[in-house]
Amino acid sequence: STPLIPIKSRKPAEYLYGKLNVKEFVQKLSAIGIQDARVEELSKGCSIINLESEDTLIQVEESQTHILSHDETAKDKDLNRQRIRDLLLGCLNKF
């Protein structure tokens, strides 16, 4: 498991900006084997991506992305969340 990090050793924040390109993100998910992404556009700039095989919902808004997952048995599930996180970070601008 990840070692606990003392508060003083926390890394400085990484600032993310811009909008998420949902199409690009879904393509990247597919490239790592998550191919059942179902995208529902709720309004302009606002979508829900349903990853049924991962028991995960991703709410995308102009200035926020929220990843909600449910772990029945845990363990490997968090690894998948971290892979999704890495992809997401690769799709956003940062400084």
Binding site: T2, K8, L16, K19, S63, D71
Partner: protein, 117 residues
């Protein structure tokens, strides 16, 4: 460090983004784990709270509890224990955190997941 009108200014990142019209994007994670526990909700809440206090005591993180919701001071981490809607013998433990607290959030999720096994 921001260059404005030929002058350099030191600004907080939030303030600089607002000033320069840079649209910030935040990422938040919310993960829910099931825990087999037929006891009263308050007892499970206390178990989770105690686990957090024990695990974080040497790390200078301050565990706060307000109306059953656990948070960690100076971080975006929130935790909540709720009764599962379908099964009286199961409690749902939700751990939520913003991307900048990934290390802390994923560590606490891991602790809760180990508790569930």
């Amino acid at each position: 460090l921001v260059m404005q009108d030929n002058q350099l200014r030191l600004m907080g990142a939030e303030e600089a983004c607002e000033d320069l019209g840079i649209p910030r994007h935040t990422i938040r994670f919310t993960s829910t784990t099931n825990l087999s526990d037929a006891g009263p909700l308050e007892a499970t809440q206390k178990r989770v709270e105690d686990l957090m206090r024990r695990s974080l005591s040497s790390m200078e993180y301050e565990v706060q509890v307000v109306e059953g919701e656990i948070s960690i001071a100076n971080s975006s981490v929130l935790m909540k224990v709720e009764q599962n809607e379908d099964d009286d013998g199961i409690k749902d433990i939700m751990v939520s955190w913003a991307n900048q607290d990934e290390a802390l959030g994923s560590t606490l999720l891991n602790l809760v997941q180990n508790m569930a096994q």
